[in-house]
């Protein structure tokens, strides 16, 4: 009996380790298949005509599955510590839900026909719905998961309608009959409209993002790491499938529209991120910003594809694929570090945090690495993908016509503005949570345990390595795009027409060299330096709350942009809330009219239907 108790108590640990090994196996399998490089397709058709499970594997899906598997493995290592720190009850249920969620994501990437896609897409959404609803006691969780599942459902309905567009033209449900179609304008616009709406709702573009900032703060941290690191990439994967594999020819204005949507999402996201007062709400909005950046890359690639300028379309698509990889790395790192911080401080409000780096230096450095790559500063991976994006924006001016010469410089400067504001929000969140003195006394102050250190360490290290040696990643991306981005040796990346070239390896080496000097000099300087109270204009014992507060930090931005929005920045909540309330109110009054409860009215309705049907039967003749 004792053994059973012991086993059942940490059965979830064995499960977790087993699953992480599974993911590592999948990751290695992906690499092997990628090198082999040919596509496989498997059809298992069941008894009924349209219900067939079919999967296919090609390089694009392998790239995405590699990302999901890598992050999944690290996530499960991280949860070994995190679930204990947070001591959730029903641990086995949590691990099972989480791992089936990851597997369903991998299977979504493998699907090859409409039925299997819908099956795993819905399974993925429902599992993430239950994960968001984990500690269901709080009203906030219920509201957030309600909005999340309803918006996903509407998104799936739109995706369904876009499938209809394909089905009507090709009269088949499996994706490999849809390869490079050319359709008439009505159906292309139909598919475009519904694919943008459907996948946009799941990815969180400008108008359809309401669930993102609501679902992530309430979900357990490693779940929101999975959701914003990986789940948001699924619709982007399908979007790329649609517009770069399925449909051959489409007007360039589609790409322009996606470019503008991406720019607005990026700007709107980061502006909202900078004014949030909760850690994970900021990270959620910054995922929205990064989705905006990815959509800018895709929009640009679509414009070049429709003008069939091969090398520029390859550069832009390569930039967005690279950014998808980077974002999944540093975003899950940041969510995990936010999770460990919350496990210690038991609160998400930044006004109650502060000074975490004193009692958790390792956590502090890892979050610093995450923040640096979020803001895309040189030695880290964010910089490379943004550099590629800048280059493709710059080069887009070589293309005459299609108002590109107005749109791309504007979006380039908006990209720079977003980078600036991202730096502001990164300083705000890292500074106010980790530096300075704790604003509220933190109960248990100890650094992160080994397991979470390993998992977050690997992620931080991979951010640095991808940043310093992007060449290996580019080798992978190069065979996803028609014209490979020119890479000579292991140091330098050159953009076409050798417009710009960058050797991140050398910048990285100099940065590391810089770090070593600073540590050495520190030893020398701090040997004989005096330690004294912080200078506060001579005031004695300044209260801890006198430190700068998060609202104060973001007050300038809020004041400057207040001209753009009313009070709160996220105006879409107001609009959708108003529409929903008035719709439901109308429904209520309509309900009463139809069913007043008196039997005579019902009999009247019945008599009327009888007469109408008789009349209709006469007309039908």
């Amino acid at each position: 009996m004792f053994f059973y108790k012991k086993v059942s108590k940490d059965l979830w640990k064995f499960l977790e380790v087993g699953f992480s090994l599974l993911y590592i196996g999948i990751f290695l399998g992906c690499i092997a298949l990628f090198i082999k490089g040919d596509n496989y397709i498997i059809h298992l058709n069941t008894t009924i005509k349209y219900i067939t499970y079919s999967f296919y594997v090609d390089r694009l899906s392998l790239f995405f599955i590699g990302i999901v598997a890598f992050n999944g493995a690290i996530n499960s290592i991280y949860t070994l510590d995190y679930i204990e720190e947070e001591n959730y009850d029903k641990k086995i249920l949590m691990t099972m839900l989480k791992n089936i969620f990851i597997l369903s994501m991998i299977l979504v990437l493998l699907t090859a026909n409409v039925f299997t896609f819908l099956l795993f897409w819905e399974v993925m959404s429902i599992l993430s719905f239950f994960l968001v609803l984990w500690d269901f006691k709080k009203e906030e969780n219920y509201k957030a998961s309600l909005i999340y599942i309803v918006m996903t459902h509407i998104g799936t309905a739109f995706i369904l309608l876009s499938f209809v567009g394909f089905y009507i033209n090709t009269n088949s449900l499996s994706f490999d009959h849809w390869q490079n179609l050319s359709l008439n304008t009505f159906w292309i616009t139909w598919i475009f409209l519904f694919s943008v709406l459907g996948f946009g709702m799941k990815a969180g573009i400008i108008g359809l993002h309401n669930w993102l900032p609501k679902a992530h703060p309430v979900a357990p941290s490693f779940v929101s790491a999975l959701m914003s690191g990986l789940m948001i990439k699924m619709p982007v994967y399908m979007f790329i499938r649609y517009w770069f594999y399925f449909i051959k020819q489409y007007p360039a204005s589609f790409g322009l529209l996606i470019l503008t949507i991406g720019t607005i999402t990026m700007l709107f996201g980061i502006l909202n991120a900078s004014v949030q007062n909760r850690l994970k709400a900021m990270l959620a909005y910054s995922s929205m910003e990064n989705i905006g950046i990815i959509y800018v890359g895709i929009g640009l690639a679509m414009v070049f594809k429709s003008l069939n300028i091969e090398y520029l379309y390859a550069l832009a698509l390569g930039a967005s694929l690279f950014h998808i990889l980077n974002h999944s790395l540093f975003k899950s790192l940041l969510f995990m570090s936010a999770g460990s911080l919350m496990a210690r401080a038991h609160t998400q409000e930044i006004a109650k945090l502060g000074g975490a780096i004193k009692y958790a230096p390792k956590l502090g450095t890892i979050t610093l690495v995450g923040m640096l790559s979020l803001v895309a500063l040189p030695p880290f991976n964010g910089f490379i993908s943004e550099w590629l994006l800048y280059q493709s924006l710059l080069l887009s001016l070589k293309v005459k016509g299609y108002y590109l010469w107005i749109v791309s410089p504007l979006s380039a400067s908006f990209l720079a503005l977003t980078g600036g504001i991202a730096m502001l929000s990164a300083v705000k969140y890292f500074g106010l949570t980790f530096l300075g003195n704790p604003r509220k006394d933190i109960k248990h102050k100890e650094d992160i345990k080994t397991m979470s250190l390993i998992s977050m360490g690997i992620l931080a290290l991979s951010c640095l390595l991808v940043g310093v040696l992007p060449v290996f990643v580019l080798d992978v991306i190069n065979n996803l795009i028609p014209v490979p981005i020119h890479v000579n040796g292991i140091f330098e990346i050159k953009t076409p027409e050798n417009f710009g070239s960058i050797a991140p390896f050398f910048i990285g080496i100099l940065m590391v060299f810089m770090l070593l000097i600073s540590i050495y000099l520190n030893k020398y300087i701090s040997k004989h330096s005096i330690y004294y109270k912080t200078w506060a204009c001579g005031q004695e014992d300044v209260p801890l709350s006198a430190q700068y507060s998060p609202e104060g930090f973001s007050q300038p931005i809020k004041k400057i942009t207040s001209k753009l929005y009313k009070d709160g920045l996220d105006i879409f909540d107001g609009i959708y809330g108003f529409i929903a309330k008035s719709l439901l109110h109308k429904l209520q009054t309509l309900k009463y009219k139809i069913q007043p409860g008196i039997i005579h009215v019902y009999i009247l309705y019945m008599a009327i239907t009888l007469i109408i049907l008789i009349w209709v039967s006469k007309i039908y003749g």
């Binding site: 219900i51 399974v123 039967s617």
Partner: protein, 480 residues
């Protein structure tokens, strides 16, 4: 063989008065179990030597599906009602006897309806079902229950009387060709000569039949008794009624529908069926969001699913009718699950309003998980059977070119999805408003079996069910 089926019911009725409560419930459940065994045996017979059309009873691939639903769901409801009646401490001995008397007559009339193909006998048994359920609805004798049963008996018997007139018109058409007598009302005799009957007569007859059995099936403008009856009746009865009784009335409509489509006036019948289905889905989507009482909500969702079945039947194509039959089975199982879980909530917490209940995961953990699974099953989420049938309806609707109608259905479905998630997960989550309650074992077993059935069939539909449904569709006949 079928007579054995009906016999078990009669024994059930006869045996009630002699046994007291705790012996009574097990024997009744055991009798129903015999029914299930008989159903399986009949299924084997049908597979071996094809359909059997006797004078009174028939057995073809269409009504075996219905017999299956009636017996399986009936058996599970009996199991469930053991736990339900035990939990209802306020009931006297005589009340429970009365309960079993009426529920057995209800089962008897349904099995009679389903095992005959004679339109006249069908009508009589449907009328018998109405009569046997009136006193079940007014079981609790409070004001709303009496009101619900009064509306139920008035509206349904009025509707069914109209249906009788429709059947008389068909009989009138048939008499000129093959002469009077019971055999001329048999479905299998009418089918071969269907195209010789006068077209206008058939159209008027179809109108009366549609209005008549439509009230019983809960289609849109005739559905008014449905929410009241289901919210007031004891839960096993409302489970039985919504999943089985409505499917049987759908069965009668299919029988007459196939005569009409064979007679060549398909344009009128298919389109009316389709648009009435569409109308009831839209109407249900108006009622479901923000409704006050969860049993009424489930009643409206039954109405919506009947609308979907009518919609897919109205499509007329092979996949359409196949999807509607599959949807019939899927809906019966899922709706029974939903009603059972809401019943165990009602029995433990004694309140029907959605707003008072919160934090159900803490109060009744197992029922809450079943309810959560049920909510996703009923709204057509993937691993469950309803997803398959709704996916087929979707594809066949687009194949047949009803794109805009199908978009309206999609909108209505997402509105319904919002209504379901908001009200049920509003009850499941947040701070519990009641303390932890003990759940009765007998209530949980049927729910578990139902979930296993739904998920099992959802993932893999065995071959012989597929062939069964396919030749059921052939018997009904495809449009034009």
């Amino acid at each position: 063989m079928i007579t054995l089926l009906l016999l078990t019911e009669l024994i059930g009725i006869v045996v009630i008065p002699f046994l007291d409560f705790n012996k009574n419930k097990y024997i009744q459940a055991f009798l129903q179990f015999i029914n299930v065994v008989v159903f399986l045996y009949l299924f084997k017979i049908l597979k071996t030597n094809g359909p059997y059309y006797g004078t009174y009873f028939t057995l073809d691939s269409l009504n075996i599906v219905l017999i299956g639903i009636v017996s399986v769901v009936g058996f599970l409801t009996y199991l469930y009602s053991i736990g339900y009646l035990e939990k209802e401490k306020s009931l006297k001995e005589s009340k429970i006897k009365e309960f079993y008397l009426w529920i057995n007559t209800f089962m008897f009339s349904m099995l009679l309806l389903v095992s005959t193909s004679n339109l006249g006998i069908m009508w009589v048994s449907i009328e018998a079902t109405t009569l046997s359920t009136t006193f079940l609805i007014s079981f609790y004798k409070n004001k709303t229950a009496v009101e619900a049963s009064w509306k139920y008996i008035m509206l349904c018997s009025l509707g069914i009387a109209l249906a009788l007139f429709g059947i008389i018109l068909i009989y009138f058409g048939v008499i000129n060709i093959i002469g009077g007598g019971l055999y001329s009302l048999d479905w299998q005799n009418i089918m071969p000569i269907a195209d010789k009957i006068d077209k206008n007569l058939l159209k008027i007859a179809f109108v009366f039949v549609l209005v008549g059995f439509g009230t019983k099936m809960g289609l849109a403008p005739l559905h008014f008794w449905l929410p009241d009856a289901h919210s007031e009746a004891p839960t096993p009865i409302s489970a039985l009624m919504s999943s089985v009784l409505l499917s049987c009335s759908f069965y009668t409509i299919i029988r007459i529908f196939s005569i009409e489509s064979k007679a060549g006036i398909g344009a009128f019948t298919y389109d009316t069926m389709l648009y009435i289905g569409l109308f009831s889905i839209v109407l249900a989507s108006i009622f479901i969001p923000r409704s006050r009482d969860y049993k009424r909500l489930l009643a409206y969702s039954t109405m919506e699913h009947m609308g979907i079945l009518a919609f897919s039947l109205g499509l007329g194509s092979f996949e359409g009718i196949f999807a509607s039959l599959l949807g019939l089975i899927a809906h019966a199982l899922t709706k029974a699950l939903m009603f059972m879980s809401s019943g165990s909530i009602l029995v433990n917490l004694h309140t029907k309003s959605i707003k008072d209940i919160k934090g159900l995961f803490k109060i009744l953990p197992i029922t809450a998980t079943f309810l959560a699974v049920g909510v996703f099953a009923i709204t057509g989420a993937p691993p469950f059977l309803l997803f398959v049938s709704e996916f087929l309806t979707l594809i066949s609707a687009f194949k047949e070119g009803f794109i805009w109608q199908r978009i309206v259905v999609l909108l209505a479905l997402s509105l319904i999805f919002f209504g379901f998630i908001e009200s049920f997960f509003g009850m499941l989550t947040r701070e519990p408003t009641f303390e932890q309650k003990k759940e009765h074992m007998f209530m949980l077993i049927p729910m578990g079996i139902l979930i296993i059935l739904i998920v099992g069939l959802g993932l893999f539909i065995p071959n012989d069910i597929k062939y069964l449904l396919e030749n059921a569709v052939y018997t009904i006949g495809v449009r034009r």
